[in-house]
C-alpha cells in the first residue's frame, strides 16, 4: 500500500459540519464545569466531610489521666496513696486460647483454670479477667500476646498504715472513688478531673504534633490531716491492749489538741485492714467515736458543777450533804452505793457522788442547764463533714422533769458521741472557751473560741478534775508520770430496749499537763466483761499510757516529778453509777 502523507490526506479536504465541533467543545466544557463545581463544593463550601475523614486517619484524642490526691498526716507522712495498676479484660468471642495457654495464664493470674475458662466463655462482649494487677505482672501477660486480651490502666489506693488509721481514712471503691471516712468526706478535693487533648500520630504511633488541648487535667489535691500518725499508733496500741485485757465488745479513743482543736488521733475497735476488705463485717466499719452515741455517765458531772460555780449557786468549797446516800425525787430515788456524808463541791467531783451532783443540778433551772449543754455542743453535730456523723440526743428543756434534770447532771437521759464529749472538755482544758474541731491541719488555729464558762470557773473545775486523778479520787490509775493530769471517769449502764441492762460502758475523759493543757483524751470501752467494769479501772490506765507517751512524743516539758504512780497507798474510790 502506498503511504499517504497526513497533510495530503484526502479526508482533510472534507470539511466537518460546524455543529459537531461545537458539540464536542460543549460536552468538554460542561465536563470541566462539573469538575470545577464539584471541587469548589468539596474544597470550599462543604469541606467538613473530607476534613473529618482526613483527621480521623491521623488525629487522635487521648485522655490524660489525673491521679487522686494523696492523704498525709500532719507531718507529711503518706497515709493513703494511689498507684497505677492494670486490669485485664477480654472480648470472649475473640479469645480462643489453647489449653496450655489457659493454663499458663491462670497460673500467672493465680486463678483456677476452670474459673478463667468460665469467664472467657461468657456471652457478653466484655469481661474482666482480673482487675488491679501490678504493672510488672501485666507486662508479662502482654508479652504472651494472647488474642482478644486487652489491658486497661486503673488506679488502686494503698493505705500503708493499715488498720491503725482505718476508721478515719475510710477507703475507696474499685473505681477509686471515696466510699467511707475522709476519702468520702473530701472526695471532691481528692478526685482529679481527667483531661484530654488532640494530637497527630505518625505511622509508628509516635505523637508528632499537639493540635489542641481539649480540656486541661486537674490533678487531685493532697489532703493534710490533723492526725499525728505517731500519737495515732500509741492510741491504737493501748486501746487494743485494753480491749483484749477486758474482753470488751468495742471501744474508741479520741485525742485532741487542746490549743487548736485539731483531732490528733481517732481509733475505734474493732477495726479492719483497708488494704484487704474481703472479710469485712459491719461492726468493724463503724466509726464509733463519731457515728455512735452512748450515755456518758459520770463524765458529765463536771459540767453541772461548772454551771453551779458560774451561776454563783456554789463555790469550790461549798459543803453539800450527801448522807444518807439517797435522794428521792418524785417516785424515783438516786443513790450512792458508797455514802460519803458531807462533801465539798470539789469532793463531789473527786469522788463522783450522784446525790451531790443532783442537788447541785436542782439548784439551777432546766433552761440554764439546757443552754449550757447546747453551748458545749451536745445535741448538735460537730460539722466535721464526716459521713454519718450524728448529733446525739438532748431533749428540749421544757420537757424535763426534775428527776431527769438530776440524772442528766450525771450523764443519763442524754446521749453524746465520744468526739462531742472530748470537745466539751476543751472548755476546762482551755480557759472556758471552745474552738471548732478540725480533721485537717490548721496553719492558723483560732486563738480564742466561743466562751462557755468564765476563766475562773474553768480553772476551778480543772483543779477539781485534778483531785479526781490523785489518790482519793475515782481514777488514781489515770495519773501520768511526769505530768499533772486531770480528768473524770464514767461508768454507765447500757440502755437496751429502753431499760438499763447489766452491761457497762466505761469511759474516761481528761487532759494534761494541768499547768498548761495540751492534749485532751477521751476513751470509751463498750461492755468490758472480764471482771472489771469501772471507768477508773478500764479506761483510766489507757489514758495514763496514751497521755504520757503522746506528751513525750510532742516534747512537752514535764510539770511534775518523774515518779511512779501512787495508786497502792490509798483505797481506790469507786464511783457511782
Amino acid at each position: 500500500m502506498k503511504a499517504i502523507k497526513f497533510s495530503r490526506n484526502p479526508l482533510l479536504s472534507e470539511r466537518l459540519p460546524l455543529w459537531r465541533r461545537r458539540l464536542v467543545l460543549g460536552v468538554l466544557l460542561a465536563g470541566f464545569t462539573v469538575l470545577v463545581g464539584r471541587s469548589l463544593y468539596l474544597q470550599g463550601i462543604n469541606n467538613e466531610f473530607l476534613g473529618d475523614k482526613g483527621r480521623a486517619r491521623f488525629e487522635r484524642v487521648i485522655d490524660i489521666s489525673a491521679t487522686r490526691g494523696r492523704i498525709t498526716d500532719r507531718h507529711g507522712d503518706v497515709v493513703a496513696v494511689s498507684t497505677p495498676v492494670r486490669s485485664i479484660w477480654a472480648i470472649p468471642e475473640d479469645t480462643k486460647l489453647t489449653p496450655s495457654q489457659s493454663r499458663d495464664l491462670a497460673q500467672m493470674l493465680d486463678m483456677d483454670v476452670r474459673e478463667l475458662n468460665r469467664k472467657l466463655a461468657s456471652e457478653r462482649d466484655f469481661a474482666y479477667v482480673k482487675r488491679q494487677l501490678p504493672p510488672e505482672l501485666a507486662d508479662r501477660i502482654t508479652a504472651l500476646q494472647l488474642p482478644g486480651l486487652r489491658q486497661k490502666n486503673e488506679y488502686r489506693r494503698y493505705y500503708p498504715s493499715g488498720e491503725v488509721m482505718a476508721h478515719i481514712l475510710g477507703f475507696t471503691g474499685v473505681d477509686d472513688a471515696g466510699q467511707e471516712g475522709i476519702e468520702l468526706a473530701f472526695n471532691t478535693q481528692l478526685t482529679g478531673k481527667p483531661g484530654s487533648r488532640r494530637i497527630i500520630k505518625d505511622r509508628r504511633g509516635n505523637v508528632v504534633e499537639d493540635v489542641e488541648s481539649i480540656s486541661q487535667p486537674v490533678e487531685g489535691k493532697d489532703i493534710v490531716l490533723s492526725m499525728d500518725s505517731k500519737i495515732q499508733f500509741i492510741a491504737y496500741t493501748y486501746l487494743r491492749k485494753a480491749i483484749e485485757e477486758h474482753r470488751a465488745k468495742a471501744g474508741g479513743i479520741v485525742v485532741l489538741d487542746a490549743r487548736s482543736g485539731e483531732v490528733l488521733a481517732l481509733v475505734n475497735m474493732p477495726t479492719y485492714n483497708p488494704n484487704n476488705r474481703v472479710k469485712l463485717v459491719g461492726a468493724q466499719l463503724r466509726n464509733r467515736a463519731l457515728t455512735d452515741t452512748f450515755e456518758p455517765g459520770s463524765t458529765m458531772k463536771p459540767f453541772a458543777a461548772a454551771l453551779a460555780l458560774e451561776k454563783g449557786k456554789a463555790r469550790f468549797n461549798t459543803p453539800i450533804q450527801t448522807a444518807p446516800g439517797k435522794l428521792t425525787i418524785g417516785t424515783a430515788t438516786i443513790s450512792d452505793a458508797h455514802p460519803h456524808g458531807v462533801l465539798t463541791v470539789a469532793q463531789v467531783i473527786q469522788k463522783s457522788s450522784n446525790v451531790g451532783i443532783s442537788k447541785l443540778a436542782l439548784s439551777m433551772t432546766p433552761a440554764e442547764m439546757w443552754e449550757m449543754f447546747d453551748a458545749l455542743g451536745f445535741g448538735t453535730t460537730l460539722k466535721l463533714g464526716f459521713p454519718g456523723e450524728v448529733s446525739g440526743r438532748l431533749r428540749p428543756a421544757k420537757t424535763w422533769k426534775p428527776i431527769e434534770q438530776a440524772t442528766m447532771a450525771y450523764g443519763h437521759g442524754i446521749s453524746v458521741t465520744l468526739m462531742q464529749l472530748a470537745r466539751a472538755y476543751q472548755a476546762f482544758a482551755r480557759d472556758g472557751d471552745l474552738t471548732p474541731l478540725s480533721l485537717t491541719r490548721l496553719d492558723m488555729p483560732p486563738a480564742i473560741g466561743k466562751q462557755v464558762f468564765s476563766t475562773q470557773t474553768a480553772r476551778e473545775v480543772r483543779a477539781m478534775l485534778e483531785l479526781a486523778v490523785l489518790p482519793g479520787g475515782t481514777a488514781p490509775k489515770a495519773q501520768v508520770p511526769g505530768y499533772r493530769a486531770a480528768g473524770k471517769t464514767g461508768t454507765a449502764h447500757k440502755l437496751e430496749g429502753g431499760a438499763y441492762a447489766n452491761k457497762y460502758v466505761a469511759s474516761f475523759v481528761g487532759f494534761a499537763p494541768v499547768s498548761d493543757p495540751r492534749l485532751i483524751i477521751a476513751i470509751m470501752v463498750d461492755e468490758p466483761s472480764n471482771g472489771k467494769h469501772y471507768g477508773g479501772d478500764v479506761a483510766a490506765p489507757v489514758f495514763s499510757q496514751v497521755m504520757g507517751e503522746s506528751l513525750r512524743t510532742l516534747g512537752v516539758e514535764s510539770d511534775a516529778p518523774q515518779k511512779p504512780l501512787q495508786v497502792a497507798n490509798a483505797a481506790p474510790v469507786k464511783e457511782e453509777m
Partner: protein, 90 residues
C-alpha cells in the same frame, strides 16, 4: 527582568525548604518533649510507689516490733527519765 525573577524564585525555594525543615524540627522537639513528659509521669508514679514503700517500712507497728524484739529496747521507767531543761537548772 529575567535575573530578578531568578533571584525571587531562589528566595521562594529557600523559604519553602526552611519552612519544611522548621516544621520537621518542631515535630522532633515535640516528640522529645512528649518523651520527657512521659518520663515525668513515670517518675511521679515511681515517687508515689517509693513513698508508699517508705511508709510501709517506717510503719510504727514495724519499728516498734523491731525495737522491742530485735534490739531489745523498752520504754524507760518513770524514775529513769530526766528532762533536759530541769537537769540544766540544777
Amino acid at each position: 527582568m529575567a535575573r530578578l525573577n531568578l533571584i525571587l524564585l531562589f528566595i521562594v525555594v529557600a523559604c519553602a525548604l526552611s519552612a519544611v525543615s522548621a516544621n520537621h524540627r518542631a515535630r522532633k522537639l515535640f516528640t522529645e518533649l512528649e518523651g520527657e513528659q512521659k518520663r515525668m509521669r513515670d517518675l511521679e508514679v515511681e515517687w508515689g510507689q517509693l513513698q508508699l514503700e517508705q511508709s510501709t517500712w517506717a510503719a510504727h507497728v514495724r519499728v516498734e516490733k523491731i525495737a522491742r524484739e530485735r534490739l531489745g529496747m523498752h520504754p524507760p521507767a518513770a524514775g529513769q527519765m530526766i528532762s533536759a531543761e530541769s537537769a540544766a537548772r540544777k
